[in-house]
Amino acid sequence: MDDRRLEGFIGNLLRVGVMLAAAIVSVGGVMYLVQHHSDTTSYRTFSIEGADVRTLPGIVRSAAHFQSEGLIQFGLLLLIATPVARVALAAAGFYLERDHLYVAVSLIVLAILVFSLMHAT
């Protein structure tokens, strides 16, 4: 598989990921508005919310219970995963091309991304 075809495949996969993420966020958003439309909101001062919207296990649990905010976060999590998947797939593609230098480069980038996401576990 050459670079161009590999990139094309990855590009299409990313688009599907983004559409799926947007769909889940939309469902969560509609549920949120149905339940909370007349709540008074203010985001003037920053306050740290609960673990169910800040950590990966919390988000998955709350989405599995069909809680609106958990669903939105789950969709956003899927969105955040799309570039991570892109890097992982690029590493696999370079491996198939026997381009070991760029396998290593991709894995370094992947490690940095995973390091960042570990904060939210």
């Binding site: 949120y32 909101t41 985001y43 905010e69 991570v84 690029a90 760029y102 940095i112």
Partner: protein, 279 residues
């Protein structure tokens, strides 16, 4: 403000921002943050969290289209992503320890640069493509791009300088929740002498990966609030899709000027509010 009003207002503004951002090539995220903080009084931490998410959406959503054009260079992108992701993690850490006033002022300065960019016209000319220097050769960064029906080969130079600038671009992205595509293009086009079209499309590819590197830190810190991020992400993404479909080429120049004026006004507001301690 009720939750319904807030969601609808933010969604509408994000749609316009995404639309204009795609049409002018300046990106939508950069105006979302000042609009949220200045017009709706949203804390800048929620604003940059929501903006970061929308940046990932537009970058990943457009990836397929850019690949089809055949300009982006996956090796250059991946190599430089080491620098941008490291910078982004650092920037995301710094965001927690930097006062919101300072963040607002830095944001204002970045907006000034964006405004400047929309006033000066189009594509800087690099001259004919150069040969790769020895480091770029060893890293196999040379490639080719479509030009007048055939493929034009190009080389890459000054990889360490580009790498350093990319680290800075990543740090800005992590600190401010933006794509910082402009700095990425400068690093590739000016420093590394990569053809402009290759620079812009590769930059677009890199933006999502860079933003994802701050996302974990942002999420754990609570910057990504679902109630704010939801309308911003859906709006910017929808607006951007619309913007790339409707290519009103003839009026892009005027649009860039108008959008540039808006950005300039936001930049000044942002800096003044940062200095006065209002943001």
């Amino acid at each position: 403000m009720t939750a319904l009003d807030f969601t609808l207002v933010v969604w509408a503004m994000a749609t316009v921002a995404g639309f204009l951002g795609a049409l002018t090539g300046l990106g939508g995220g950069v105006v979302v943050v000042p609009v949220l903080t200045l017009a709706l009084g949203v804390d800048i931490k929620y604003a940059i969290g929501a903006s970061l998410v929308s940046v990932i959406a537009t970058s990943s959503g457009a990836a397929a289209a850019y690949v089809k054009e055949g300009y982006s260079n996956i090796r250059i992108g991946m190599l430089l992503e080491i620098a941008t992701t490291l910078g982004a993690v650092l920037g995301a850490y710094l965001a927690a320890y930097t006062s919101t006033h300072i963040i607002a002022i830095i944001f204002g300065v970045v907006l000034l640069q964006s405004a400047y960019q929309s006033f000066v016209n189009g594509t800087p000319e690099n001259g004919p493509p150069l040969q790769s220097d020895s480091l770029a050769k060893r890293l196999r960064l040379s490639s080719d791009y479509p030009l007048d029906g055939s493929r034009q080969e190009y080389g890459v130079q000054h990889v360490p300088t580009g790498f350093g600038l990319m680290f800075g671009a990543g740090a800005l992205s992590g600190l401010l929740g933006i794509g910082s595509g402009a700095v990425k293009v400068i690093a590739m086009d000016r420093a590394m002498k990569i053809p402009f079209k290759v620079s812009t499309t590769t930059s677009n590819f890199m933006i999502g990966v860079t933003a994802a590197a701050s996302a974990g830190v942002y999420l754990s810190r609570g910057y990504i609030d679902p109630r704010v991020a939801m309308p911003v992400m859906l709006g910017v993404l929808g607006g951007a899709v619309l913007g790339t479909k409707i290519l009103v080429r003839a009026r892009v120049r005027t649009l860039r000027l108008v959008f540039g004026c808006v950005i300039l006004a936001l930049a000044i507001e942002m800096i003044l509010n940062g200095i006065r301690g209002k943001v």
